[in-house]
């Protein structure tokens, strides 16, 4: 394989009508796997469509909003997130091993996978590129405040920062702190405050004044 693995300068995008090497090689792979009967292109279409349109951070935001409004659910979520999220019913299938970790004024949680790219797909969708990149994977465990600064987030010096390295099949969801001034809000409205990054721990939930009315 070594001869296949050198110099890939242009595999990031589809450039006009010119087929990149990556496009050609991936297309060839799909042709082979289809001809051999291992994969069904229509199923591949459905998988792509699912990740493009159906699974995203809104799933997680609704979980967080429910936890903010319902103390019984919050407790259930912190005890067994897989079970609690499955019981909500808005995510069709929740795998085992989901763990929710709660931010408090004393502790801020941040999730990373230093070894690869483990991420709670069911509640957050596909991970953003930065989450899978060397800068984040290398620095999150050693200098999380520096990483937070890259996201324009600054926390008090004495706030404990707990970094969870996802080294097994456990997946972590951060339950961010509820912003002030949101008493009486519906879950739908609260969910608009819950950003993807706030559920990874590289951001905080938005304040009411930060969203378009």
């Amino acid at each position: 394989m070594a001869d296949h693995e050198h110099d890939h300068h242009d595999h990031h995008g589809d450039h006009g009508s010119e087929l990149s090497e990556a496009q050609l090689r991936v297309r060839a792979l799909e042709t082979i796997l289809t001809e051999k009967g291992y994969v069904d292109p229509a199923a591949l279409d459905a998988i792509v469509e699912t990740y493009e349109t159906r699974i995203g951070p809104r799933n997680g935001a609704l979980v967080v909003a429910r936890a903010w409004n319902d103390p019984v659910f919050r407790q259930a979520l912190l005890e067994d997130a897989s079970k609690a999220v499955a019981a909500l019913g808005h995510i069709s299938r929740v795998g085992d091993h989901l763990v929710a970790v709660e931010n408090t004024p004393r502790r801020h949680n941040m999730i990373v996978c230093t070894l690869c790219s483990c991420y709670p797909w069911e509640v957050l969708g596909l991970p953003p590129i930065w989450y899978k990149s060397a800068p984040y994977r290398s620095r999150a465990v050693k200098d999380p405040r520096g990483v937070l600064a890259d996201f324009n987030v600054e926390l008090p010096k004495d706030t404990e920062i707990r970094v969870w390295d996802s080294t097994a099949e456990t997946r972590f969801l951060v339950l961010p702190m509820r912003p002030e001034g949101t008493e009486g809000w519906s879950e739908e409205r609260l969910a608009d405050l819950v950003t993807r990054d706030s559920m990874i721990g590289t951001g905080l939930a938005r304040k009411p004044g930060e969203i378009a009315q």
Binding site: M1, I32, A43, G95, T114, V141, D165, T170
Partner: protein, 218 residues
């Protein structure tokens, strides 16, 4: 293995650069690669740790230079070749030339949603758990050439068991082709200074999920 994938604590990669309004895929082929990876997983072509190990064994300069889904592509080709699902001649020709290897039922469109559900990694316990939350442990100092999920920065370090996640398939065994060899899995937390030394942020704690063979009583 002590590969370049084991990045925790490395310096020099620069700032984290979030991309505003990032799309799920940056090119059509990226989605196809992800879909093929999932579909081949469904037919039982490999375990998740086989995929990880195939990426880890890419030459370091290739690993670092490749975009995310390109790395998946390279690893998938390696695994397909290694396990006899395709031949090098087929990859070169861009067409099937040999009969297929028998597989379980392939993933079809009507069962995609079930097919995308995450597998459970729980396995029956082989022995009682050796540790419980609150126990002090020391992670082992080992440097296998093979796949492991104990990061280098967390080896030979004193920590405290915080959670017991039950008994799971053991990646070190799975990726070596030796089966599930189920092991207890724990969240183990370390003080930042235990890992990074006295200059570390005193308010930092880091946890890993550690399989029982990674741990010794302390």
């Amino acid at each position: 293995m002590n590969g370049v994938h084991d990045m925790g604590g490395m310096d020099g990669f620069g700032k984290v650069r979030p991309e505003p309004n990032e799309p799920p895929f940056h090119a059509t082929w990226e989605g196809r690669v992800l879909a093929m990876q999932r579909a081949m997983g469904y037919v039982g072509a490999w375990h998740i740790d086989d995929t990880r190990f195939a990426q880890e064994t890419l030459p370091p300069q290739v690993y670092l230079a490749a975009s995310y889904y390109w790395r998946w592509t390279l690893a998938m080709e390696r695994n397909l070749l290694k396990r006899g699902y395709v031949t090098a001649e087929e990859l070169a020709a861009g067409h099937a030339l040999r009969p297929a290897k028998p597989v379980k039922e392939k993933l079809t469109r009507d069962v995609v949603q079930q097919g995308l559900a995450r597998n459970s990694f729980f396995r029956p316990q082989q022995a009682p758990a050796r540790f419980k939350p609150g126990d002090r442990v020391r992670t082992r100092n080992f440097h296998p050439q093979t796949h492991t999920r104990l990061p280098r920065y967390a080896r030979d370090k004193l920590g405290v068991v915080e959670l017991n996640h039950g008994c799971h398939a053991y990646p070190d065994s799975v990726a070596a082709g030796r089966g599930d060899d189920p092991q207890w899995l724990y969240t183990v937390v370390f003080d930042g200074r235990e890992i990074w030394g006295p200059e570390s942020d005193p308010a930092l704690t880091v946890s890993i999920d550690a399989f029982e063979p990674y741990l010794e009583p302390a």
